[in-house]
Symmetry: C2
Subunit: 333 residues, 2 copies
């Protein structure tokens, strides 16, 4: 069904479920490993999660794919960002040259990084006066995101870059989850208090204009191309039953319309890192997700997801490599 | 001065300080890297911390040494643990055979693991009736811990194993930092509510017997061999200006007597993971340390420190490998 021919096809996707037999087998193995039950905490949960989605009781990560999507945003015309829009393209060049944080963190974590710049010379429209994207533009970005997923990956980690996209994220979060506009607005890349107030006004105006729309139409009306591409990648991974590691606030907010359409669309997604953007904690809570790391970061690019991949590798290494009580000749076995 | 000839020599150690020029140079570099200032959060702090202790503006980890110390405890005679004491030796055999969690996590994090079993056939004495170790026994364990440190390591990560040592940790924490005995007692390895009440009683009794002693004498009176060895390793690393990553509750509590003697003794120490043992958060706060990870783990062995090594590697990779604004031709440069 992917590539989609209309946005509402998302609602009709066949959603593969985790393999409950593999989860049970992984849980049974965890209980036999040489450690007190539960003492590896989140690592045990992660091993079982990966077992379910990969459909094997000893999940593994031979191939980790990192995808970073970049886009430009018409909302920048409202003066919501202290940096010029051409920084998006310059940072894409930096990714390509290997000079950004995400390059270093992918190398350390053993992930293959691809950067997909989405029509940077054609920013979306200003969502305070019209929809940011037509349905066709949104679908195109969605399908390009979906097409980028390597069906042989064992995990896909997602990130983004786009000057102005913390304002886009606040608008998506506010439109899907309510609250006050200011609840979802943070400093982003270098905004001061005045800039944050301006962002909240812009978010309020955009959401007032588009809030009556259904969640997937909200993605088109308030989102950007990288947000649509992230949604596409999330669902293409789901179709192949590949688990996904989302990054921080921008990346999580990109999937808010999917959550609004059907929370189960995100069942295969982890969140790598709790952003310092104040809206992220509320977003994670609203989506019922617990980020793996909390290191005071707020860079985006997929950096939090790449760091969390190291924890995930540790979880699977313990699950696969530890001796059982019986093998070690210790008590409970 | 190490090996020490008496415990109180700790108070007379020459303490190398971090290289403030290297810290300043690292901070200046961080400000030029292609990211908003501060957006790598804790990673930036870690890079500067490592720069200071390694004395170079581009700190690195070519050699990570992991040391796990194991000991047995006379306090087990008081029935504070549901597992028999021979599990300590069986787990040491498991470490040696490569079957424990710490083996897998060291492999993932790129750390060389050494396991040092300290006279497992000679448990310390029961601290409710006498000192756990004579000064000579404590010194011997301290010096063996110090001798285990590789002076060429770029970081030393520390862990432990010892049935009964969560009770020992509660006693050390209570003796050094006060509060109520129950504040420092948790489930450890499998204690129920009744077991925890028993542990709190035993802690109260031991601390009442020995609390008038100076901090380093408290180490001998209430600690075990692995605790003394951890203190020795911490100070041998300090003498060589090698940063140290402590693990969780047991490992942190082992250093509480050093903090009691002089908090500056621990300036070169990070804490890898916030344990689920309830006393750990209070201990970290009392020592002014913020653990890097919080993943609901409570296994010990150095597992939290080994996982945090992955984050530290990420921090240094960003610091060393990222392009500056000038190199990337982006604005602020």
């Amino acid at each position: 069904m992917i590539p989609l021919t209309q946005l509402d096809d998302v609602l009709r996707l066949d959603l593969p479920q985790p393999d409950t037999d593999a989860i049970e087998a992984a849980r049974a193995r965890q209980a036999q490993l040489t450690k007190p039950p539960g003492s590896l905490g989140r690592l045990e949960e992660l091993a079982e999660f990966m077992a379910g989605w990969q459909g094997r009781d000893r999940p593994r990560i031979d191939r980790a794919q990192a995808l970073v999507f970049a886009g430009n945003h018409g909302i920048c015309a409202q003066g919501v960002n202290p940096f010029p829009q051409d920084v998006t393209g310059l940072m894409v060049a930096n990714f390509t040259a290997g000079g950004a944080a995400i390059n270093q963190l992918c190398r350390v974590a053993g992930a293959d990084l691809s950067v997909i710049a989405l029509d940077l010379d054609r920013p979306t429209a200003d969502f305070t006066t019209s929809v940011a994207m037509t349905d066709a533009e949104c679908l195109d970005a969605f399908n390009r995101g979906a097409a980028a997923v390597d069906r042989d990956a064992d995990i896909v980690i997602l990130g983004e870059m786009g000057i102005g996209n913390s304002t886009v994220s606040a608008a998506l979060s506010h439109a899907i989850f309510g609250g006050a506009p200011g609840d979802w607005v943070g400093r982003g890349t270098g905004s001061d208090a005045e800039g944050m107030a301006r962002k909240a006004e812009v978010v309020a105006k955009g959401v007032a204009l588009h809030a009556e729309r259904a969640p997937l139409q909200i993605l088109a009306a308030l989102g950007g191309r990288e947000q649509a591409a992230i949604c596409g990648a999330v669902l293409a991974a789901r179709a192949a039953r590949i688990p996904v590691m989302l990054d921080g606030y921008i990346c999580t907010a990109a999937t808010a319309p999917l959550h609004g359409a059907n929370p189960a669309l995100l069942d295969h997604c982890l969140i790598g890192h709790l952003s310092i953007e104040p809206g992220h904690a509320a977003l994670c809570e609203a989506m019922g997700k617990r980020p793996i790391l909390s290191l005071g970061m707020g860079l985006g690019e997929g950096t939090g997801a790449a760091l969390a991949l190291g924890v995930l590798r540790g979880a699977l290494a313990c699950h696969d490599g530890m001796a059982t009580f019986a093998e070690a000749g210790i008590g409970p076995g």
